[in-house]
Amino acid sequence: MIAFPVFPIFTLLIVLGLAPVLPGIANRTKSALTGRRGAPVLQLYSDLGKLWRKGVVYSRTTTVLFRLAPVVLLATSLLAGGLLPLDGRVALLSFPGDLVAFAGLLGLGRFFLVLAAMDTGSSFEGMGASREVTFASFAEPALFLCFTVLVLATGQLQLAGMFGVPLAAAWPVAAPSLVLAAAGLFIVTLAETCRVPVDDPLTHLELTMIHEVMILDHSGPDLALILYASSVKMALFGSLIVGVLAPRAHEQRVLAFGELILGLGLVAIAIGVVESIMARLRMNRVPHLLVAASALAGLALILLLR
């Protein structure tokens, strides 16, 4: 208990180190399926390095809040990673109800990013902020319904307790619910990581952007922090999905962690596939998709409560 948690720190560092690969895999999948060569998988690393070395331009309208926001965003994403059991069993930090803390930390990051957008006084960024909070209001209940399904299926209140053995034991009896919850989580992931069909990371028209338009005024290291935090967020949600679909109860810890890395790659590929076979939804249709995610999770819940 008191022993220094070497392995969780080790796994967390690897996941944090590999996170920028995930958007690269998703984008590469998309270009492969649409018959283009596409950017290298490791593109984001070069982008981050370049941005980190650059200077910054700040708008005269902004306050300290604008500079603080990327820092808070990254810090919350890192800490949220510490709550996830990356080898399927042990997390760096774990307590009953830590899934609320997971969502709360991501909420704090969003709170600051949205305020930073409002800080610029730009109508475009205000628009992005408004869209972000609107869609988050639909994603959040869906996420919590998925959590409730997991709690009901496993009887555990902490993330580290529920993945692994309890979830593996739940699969034979509650398979339909868990599949539905995983589907719900996948839709929430698409929304939270700003991918098609909710948001298009490659769009070049400000009026159609959500996440990208919020960070228009961020530059240099600040932008690097935000881009990196987004890739970490994709890794976090990917880990949740992998954890639900492939509970690792009995393997060696190293092997279990290896499976997570493999699973994260598959999630990124799945995101890329969705991006290449779907167009993004009209803005006013996005809530429908997210309510559908809630409906899937709600159905899973009803199946469990039966």
């Binding site: 980190w52 070395r53 650059k54 200077g55 910054v56 700040y58 708008s59 005269r60 309208t61 902004t62 306050t63 820092v71 808070v72 810090a75 919350t76 890192l78 800490l79 930090l93 307590f95 009953p96 109800g97 899934l99 609320v100 803390a101 709360g104 930390l105 909420g107 704090l108 709170f111 949205v114 305020l115 409002m118 800080d119 610029t120 006084g121 730009s122 109508s123 475009f124 205000g126 628009m127 902020a129 408004s130 909070v133 609107t134 988050a136 209001s137 639909f138 994603a139 959040e140 209940p141 996420l143 709690v151 009901l152 009887g155 228009l216 240099g220 290291p221 600040d222 922090l225 709600g298």
Partner: protein
């Protein structure tokens, strides 16, 4: 008790002197500024020591009119703590008004209100309780109409006066149904009557829910609240919204403690009412464009969250899960305290903005962070706390309630369905995030939308009370262990079961995990901030205008406003939110009507008026008819007696 009485005496005396020495403003102000906190400190001391040492006197001591148990002590601490802060703020806030009206009246009324509410939460007898309750209602009414030259304030005051008396009447009915013929009218006797099963439980709980629910502002009886809280001076709004409506919560908990475990239907009712209040409250708040009305609607939301906790607690009682009951009640009382801290913080911040700019219209403001930087930071902390974000106090209590909701999932039978309420609470949190990013963003960030003149040093004298409340929010958020044992004691006073406290205190490792997470978060933010300053070239920063996406004639009117920011969400929730949009050339206004007041309240009220004017036909003004009425009444009573006594 002597210390409490003495402290309350000092508070009252300061109020009286503040009015009596009106001609010597400086003396009057400094007496009030120092007298009220001193009195609060003296009176708060026994309550704090009771909660800390946990020495519960046998409750209730026979013959006492007022007394303390853990539940009373918890609420006393809240009333006096927030009361002292708002009173200090009020001195400075009203200074400017001195030329227009008798400021001392407001000070005296506030001190009476503080004393009356302390009386409500410490009363041990029905008569003392109801007398304090009524004193509180009247003092609050007079404070609401303090700026009585505004028709809006008079109207809000009238609605409040009617509604609060509905509450009083329901409570008189409740006590009458509970203990007819109880000689002393002590709470002890009520409890004994409940043990002996001589109480019509359904009637008592129903009337109690009406009486206390109306006071707390539970949907659909919330409609008096936004107008009343917005009309009062800001520091009074802070006290009304942060503390006074909690007397409804106290009343519900006190009834539960005296009555014993409620039936399951009542617990489910509370849970559903809590859910409805939480979601609808935040939705209506989102539609507001008046700072104080917006904050007042958030009180409806937070009362909903507290009711979710009470609902969980009563479900735990009804289905015999003591751990769940304790968790629910602890979450509820903790959120009650937390809400009183961050809501009064936000109202004081809003007051500073109104004081500096003279407007409550969110859409006329903007860019205030440059002019009032410390107010902006304090408001930011309050906003993050009310949204329930870590590492602040709102997160701790919402986490407890979430945990309780998840905990029901581990049980059996129909109780498991309660876990689905977690979805509603999550929706509430996300909408609150939308609402407070809107409020903080539009008020403090960006550029000023209208040329409001803010004198330099506008926050002077108003900022310290806010910083004190913000510090309390952070302290509870980072070190919840400071308050959780005391909250658990207050909760177990409801349950009459101190066995569970051990469990919660054993859960101290859990709360320390929250502290570790909170400290880790703060440390990570500091590390990344330093790293960014050291390693990256942020010192090479250049300043420029906000990028206008190739458009160069940007004006501050192009910024997103409160209406347009919330527009997307309100479009989706339109009918539920009761808003309607007016889109004109270059303008967008979202009109927020209160669905309950406008669609239910007014029709019912006009029906009552119609019925009343029909009743007027009885008043013919001719002596003959009045004699006849007397005879009819006498005959009626005789017939009744004959029926009752007939074998």
């Amino acid at each position: 008790m002597i210390m409490i009485a003495g402290g309350l005496g000092i508070i009252l005396l300061s109020g009286i002197l503040a009015l009596a020495l009106e001609r010597y403003p400086r003396t009057a102000d400094s007496i009030f500024r120092w007298g009220v906190p001193a009195g609060c400190l003296a009176a708060i001391w026994p309550a704090v020591s009771l909660l800390v040492t946990g020495a519960l006197p046998s409750r209730p001591t026979a013959g006492e009119v007022f007394g303390l148990d853990a539940l009373s002590a918890w609420f006393t601490v809240m009333v006096l703590g927030v009361g002292a802060v708002t009173a200090v703020y009020g001195v400075r806030y009203l200074e400017r008004e001195r030329s227009k009206r008798r400021v001392g009246t407001a000070h005296l009324l506030l001190s009476i209100l503080i004393v009356a509410i302390t009386g409500v939460v410490t009363a041990e007898r029905v008569v003392a309780f109801l007398a304090s309750w009524e004193l509180m209602a009247i003092a609050a009414f007079l404070l609401i109409i303090f700026e009585r030259e505004h028709a809006e304030a008079r109207r809000a005051g009238l609605i409040y006066l009617v509604v609060t008396h509905v509450s009083t009447i329901a409570l008189i009915g409740m006590f009458a149904a509970w203990g007819p013929g109880l000689p002393g009218g002590g709470f002890q006797e009520l409890a004994i009557a409940a043990v002996n099963h001589r109480v019509p439980v359904a009637l008592v709980l129903g009337l109690g829910l009406i009486g206390f629910g109306v006071k707390a502002g539970v949907v659909p009886a919330h409609f008096w609240l936004p107008g009343a809280h917005a009309a009062a001076p800001s520091h009074v709004s802070a006290f009304l919204s942060g503390v006074m409506i909690k007397t409804g919560i106290y009343g519900l908990l006190r009834v539960l403690s005296l009555l014993g475990p409620p039936p399951a239907w009542w617990a489910w009712t509370i849970l559903l009412l809590g859910l409805a209040s939480a979601v609808l409250g935040v939705l209506w708040a989102l539609a507001q464009h008046d700072i104080k009305r917006l904050l007042a609607y958030h009180s409806v939301e937070n009362i909903g969250i507290i009711l979710l906790g009470i609902g969980l607690g009563t479900l735990g009682q009804a289905y015999h899960h003591p751990a769940l009951a304790l968790l629910g009640f602890t979450g509820a009382v903790l959120h009650t305290l937390n809400h009183s801290l961050f809501k009064s913080l936000l109202f004081l911040g809003a007051g500073a903005v109104v004081h500096a700019t003279g407007t409550r219209e969110i859409d006329r403001l903007g860019g205030l962070a440059r002019l009032m930087p410390r107010t902006a930071w304090a408001f930011l902390i309050g906003s993050a706390a009310i949204v329930g974000l870590p590492p602040l106090n709102g997160f701790v209590s919402e986490w407890m309630i979430f945990r309780g909701l998840f905990e029901t999932g581990g049980t059996t039978g129909v109780l498991r369905t309660a876990s689905a309420a977690a979805c509603g609470l999550a929706l509430t949190g996300a909408l609150a995030l939308a609402c407070f990013t809107k409020l903080h963003g539009v008020l403090f960030l960006g550029t000023p939308r209208h040329t409001a003149t803010v004198a330099p040093g506008a926050e002077q004298g108003l900022i310290n009370p806010q910083l004190a409340l913000a510090a309390a929010c952070i302290l509870i958020g980072v070190l919840p262990i400071l308050v959780i044992p005391a909250a658990a004691q207050a909760a177990s006073a409801v349950l009459h079961d101190s066995g569970g406290i051990g469990e919660v205190v054993a859960g101290a490792s859990v709360t320390s995990a929250i502290s570790v997470a909170a400290l880790a978060l703060l440390a990570l933010i500091a590390i990344v901030w330093r790293l960014r300053a050291r390693v990256a070239y942020v010192d090479r920063a250049a300043l420029g205008p906000t990028w206008g996406c190739a458009f160069s004639q940007v004006t501050s009117r192009m910024q997103y406003t409160a209406s347009s920011y919330a527009g997307n969400l309100l479009m989706v929730f339109g009918p539920l939110a009761g808003t309607h949009r007016v889109v004109g050339p270059g303008t967008l206004h979202v009109h927020a009507a209160d669905p309950v007041l406008d669609r239910l309240g007014r029709p019912v009220w006009s029906w009552v008026q119609g019925a009343a004017s029909n009743m007027r036909r009885l008043q013919t003004g001719r002596i003959f008819w009045y004699l006849l009425y007397v005879i009819f009444a006498l005959v009626g009573f005789l017939l009744y007696l004959w029926f009752v006594t007939a074998p």
